[in-house]
Amino acid sequence: MDVECILAIIIISYLRRILKKHAYDARVDKLLIAGMAISIALLVVSAALPRAKTLFRWLTHAFMLVLVYYSLTIPVFRAAKSLLYAILPLVLVTLIEDIVKIISLSFYNEWNNYFQAAQLFAFIWMFAMWFITKRQRTALEMERLKALEKEKEYTITASLKAALEVQVAERTVALTRQKDELEQTITELKSTQAQLVQSEKMASLGELTAGIAHEIQNPLNFVNNFSEVNTELIAEMKEALGKGDIEEAKIIAEDISANEQKINHHGKRADAIVKGMLQHSRSSGGQKEPTDINALADEYLRLAYHGLRAKDKSFNATMKTDFDETIGKINVIPQDMGRVILNLITNAFYVVAEKKKPLTPEGKLNPFFKDYVPTVTVGTKKAGNKILITVRDNGSGIPPQVLDKIFQPFFTTKPTGQGTGLGLSMSYDIVTKSHGGELKVATKENEGTVFTIQLPLQP
């Protein structure tokens, strides 16, 4: 039958396409080519020989059945299943029709309409199946494309990821190197800072040296002279005793005793100055001990004053003390607290000296020059459970834009080479960290500045 042959040709070519696309198999392909040749031969021969039509009909039926069966059994052609099911009713209907024709032609003629209808339905079935399959295939194709797209995206993402990994690795190496360099720099900075702290100590020691020289001369003057006086007095006392003047000898003995006390006092004073100097240069790590803050502050006030005086002969200032004698001894690290007090006092002297200069730093006439009396006052006070140590100057005050920077390391308003910028930051650390206290500042422009050290009484 012509229709069946054409269907066979369509199916075989479709199967070959599937075969080529999915899993090419030369043996199966050969069979398919043979099938194609057979179906073309059947078509041509049945058209050329109308008398042998019946024979060819049966050959075609057999061929179709073999083809459909064969196709359904091979796993590669699973994709063609729907097509095969689409044509199967048509194949079966024509086969049954022909069988019925052979068995009883009259029955066939009687039921001819029904056979016609069955054939029609088989055709409709075939087209419907074909149509549905095509739609399904289109949908599947879309899905496949989408999947492909996704895969492409995935590939791109993967390559991007790989590139990123490389970048991250490069950056990590760069960062590690930078980190190492920074660590190196920090180590260097730390040692530089330690050196600076030491040189700050040495610088303030230098400021003290001249003061110490002066301060040590005064007690030595008394020690030497009072002891010489006593030698004279002892001679006079012997003389009086020789004369038998007991009263005179007693009076002289009183004087000797009083002088002896003075010698002792000034000897201790010289001793304290030398000790203070040694303590000042000693590295920190000292222990807290009960300390007479008033004596400490007084000593450093004098040392700082004479130190500055020795460097700058024109320097002059009034020193005032306002000590609360009831504060008793306070538990502090003497050399550290001494350093803080010295630092505040040195700063105070510096600012009052600046204000006393005839010209301002800008080269203008200083309006304060004439009537200004540079004054630095050091005081102590008991306030509740706290001890306040104040260093007050009547200098120019600290400008507001500078005020919050003064405790920062390396901040200085002094000309280059004159200040390390570490004095106040070290002082701040000593007061807050080592002593649990506070270092506060109050300032008023053109009127002066007060630094207050607050120390807890019972640490």
Binding site: Q217, N218, H266, N316, A317, T318, M319
Partner: protein, 124 residues
């Protein structure tokens, strides 16, 4: 002879009184003490021409010995008294400055009282 001693160290009074006890007792020398440059000028205001000799420390808080010397020699008293400067340093700078300002003599700390007594004899 009246001597004004100017020094910020209070014990200087006891020391002079002890070292010159014989001279004070015999009335040969009289001492007055001032503990700052300002004190000294105030004293001189009240006792003009009384002090023959002024012994002054150079290093004093407030008005320095050099300023005091300047005031005494150029602004205050005519004729000015003898002024002897005492310094802890004896350095050239202070020495020259004091000499320019008209200081008559110098002593260094620690004060050599025997030397001082010799010098006083010459002035006398």
């Amino acid at each position: 002879m009246k001597i004004l001693v100017v020094d910020d160290e209070k014990d200087i009074q006891t020391l002079f009184e002890q070292r010159f006890r014989k001279e004070i007792r015999s009335g040969e020398i009289m001492f007055a003490f001032a503990f700052s440059g300002e004190d000294a000028l105030a004293y001189l205001d009240g006792h003009a021409h009384e002090a023959v000799l002024i012994l002054s420390d150079i290093n004093m808080p407030g008005m320095s010995g050099l300023e005091l010397l300047d005031q005494i020699k150029h602004k205050y008293l005519k004729p000015p008294p003898v002024v002897m400067m005492i310094t802890a340093y004896g350095d050239a700078e202070n020495f020259n400055m004091a000499r320019q300002l008209g200081a008559d003599d110098f002593l260094t700390k620690p004060v050599d009282f025997n030397l001082l007594k010799e010098k006083l004899k010459l002035i006398h």
